[in-house]
């Protein structure tokens, strides 16, 4: 079992409440970015390239909590930048756990062991460290543009598990990835004892510096089919099986850009976690004034054509899972049989 029953129930009951209220557009996971500072500069990341005065800034804990209350989601993901560089990260996580929010703290783990030793965090079923791991040692260090990061991340994973924390990995797959090596990576992560793994195809958004290595949709289908068509029983993916099937080309979903709204120093990001086309001053204004019809595959927007990233499509898969008997049955069968 990858995700605690309590978390599954929290998400399922939340989705069903939205359906009962007739709410067509609802958020599922808040992407809360308290700062843009990072201790890495990965070639695939365009999120940290700002002038110094912006990198020095950060949200207050109050502003973070206000954003969480505004959108009312059951799950809060804390990426960045590197969230462990946020001085109030312990206080923020404590406050979110007290509010019974399921927190995924997305980190490169370089500072994790130190923070654990300092007692900044306490194990809780509401808190998961989601460790950025893009492959085996050579591939990961190349993806993050620094040698030695993989080893440090593995040490941090082991320490966090030893202390009783929930730990998952999150992996972005770029063009040129070796499927056999990636399957070996899955084996290695499960051998470490992580709760589950999360996958997403890399997406070329205009501010990311590396434009040539991002996947295209057909190649994405082929890659994920190779990776997941014959999954090993001990592999656990901390994601909706319908989303993984979508990556394999088995479902034709439309994006849900409001599903993972993003809040950071600049406000509520339009339209989604990846595209930065402006900011709204409140969650309500984000939902009411963003021209949603301009995004997603059906819109014809070039920027959306090849995108299959989790932040837009996993909410769709979750909505399908808990919003229809067909979706629920499909997800249940995949979960029980372990076949995608």
């Amino acid at each position: 079992m990858s995700v605690p029953i309590s978390q599954m129930w929290a998400v399922a009951s939340y989705v069903m409440r939205q359906k009962l209220r007739g709410r067509k557009r609802y958020p599922l996971v808040l992407m809360l970015e308290p700062l843009f500072r990072c201790n890495l500069a990965c070639a695939g990341c365009g999120k940290i390239q700002y002038p110094a005065q912006i990198l020095r800034k950060q949200l207050t804990v109050e502003a973070c909590l206000k954003a969480v209350e505004e959108c009312g989601v059951p799950i809060v993901s804390i990426p960045g930048g590197e969230p462990l560089m946020y001085p109030q990260i312990g206080e923020l996580v404590d406050a979110l756990v007290a509010r019974r929010k399921y927190v995924y703290l997305c980190t490169n783990a370089l500072l994790l062991k130190e923070k654990l030793e300092q007692g900044v965090f306490r194990p809780s079923r509401y808190l998961t460290f989601s460790i950025h791991m893009d492959g085996l040692r050579e591939e990961h260090d190349e993806a993050v543009c620094r040698d030695g990061v993989y080893e440090k991340a593995v040490e941090a994973i082991q320490e966090a598990l030893r202390r009783g924390f929930r730990v998952t990995t999150n992996t972005t797959l770029f063009d040129g990835v070796n499927p056999l090596r990636m399957r070996e990576f899955f084996d290695e992560m499960m051998q470490l004892g992580v709760e589950g793994m999360m996958l997403s195809p890399g997406y070329s958004y205009s501010k990311a510096p590396d434009q040539e290595h991002f996947l295209r949709r057909t190649k994405t289908h082929a890659l994920f089919s190779q990776l997941l068509s014959n999954p090993k029983r001990h592999w656990i993916f901390n994601q909706s099986p319908l989303f993984l099937q979508f990556l394999m080309g088995k479902h034709d979903y439309e994006c849900t850009p409001w599903g993972n709204p993003t809040f950071n120093l600049f406000g509520w990001q339009r339209p989604c976690y990846l595209l930065q086309e402006g900011y709204a001053e409140s969650f309500q204004k984000l939902m009411e004034t963003t021209r949603w019809e301009n995004y997603g595959r059906k819109s014809g927007n070039d920027q959306c054509r090849d995108c299959m990233v989790h932040c837009g499509y996993e909410p769709t898969a979750v909505d399908q899972t808990f919003g229809s008997w067909k979706g629920f049955r499909g997800a249940l069968v995949a979960t029980i049989t372990g076949r995608l």
Partner: protein, 113 residues
């Protein structure tokens, strides 16, 4: 290609709205030259041209703000600050790694503050 150092010449071929869009996309500080002659240097992080009074929003070079400036008060925008997205590419990292040999001591990347 970078816009760093560019001082736009507004005219028929280039409108203020177009320059504002480019400044919004630019990953560095810009200098907003106002119609009253004053200048504000900082990071332009938002613009909204779909409201009755279109505006930009920015943090100044000390991080103060956000400040809202209506389009109507802007004469021009200069791309005065360093482009923080320029040169940070996969290819640059690979080249550096090859220069350092088989076992580089360090990769590139921001050091922890």
């Amino acid at each position: 290609m970078t816009l760093e150092g560019w001082v736009p010449e507004l005219g028929e071929g280039l409108t203020l709205s177009q320059v504002i869009e480019l400044a919004f996309d630019y990953r560095g500080n810009t200098t907003v030259v106002k119609v009253d002659g004053t200048e504000v240097e900082g990071y332009l992080f938002n613009r909204n041209c779909e409201v009755p009074e279109p505006f930009i929003q920015m943090f100044d070079q000390n991080g103060n703000g956000p400040f809202r400036i209506p389009y109507a008060e802007i004469r021009n925008i200069q791309f005065s600050g360093k482009d923080m997205a320029a040169g940070r590419s996969w290819e640059a990292w690979v080249e550096r790694k090859q220069r350092e040999g088989a076992q580089p001591a360090t990769g590139h990347g921001k050091e922890e503050e």
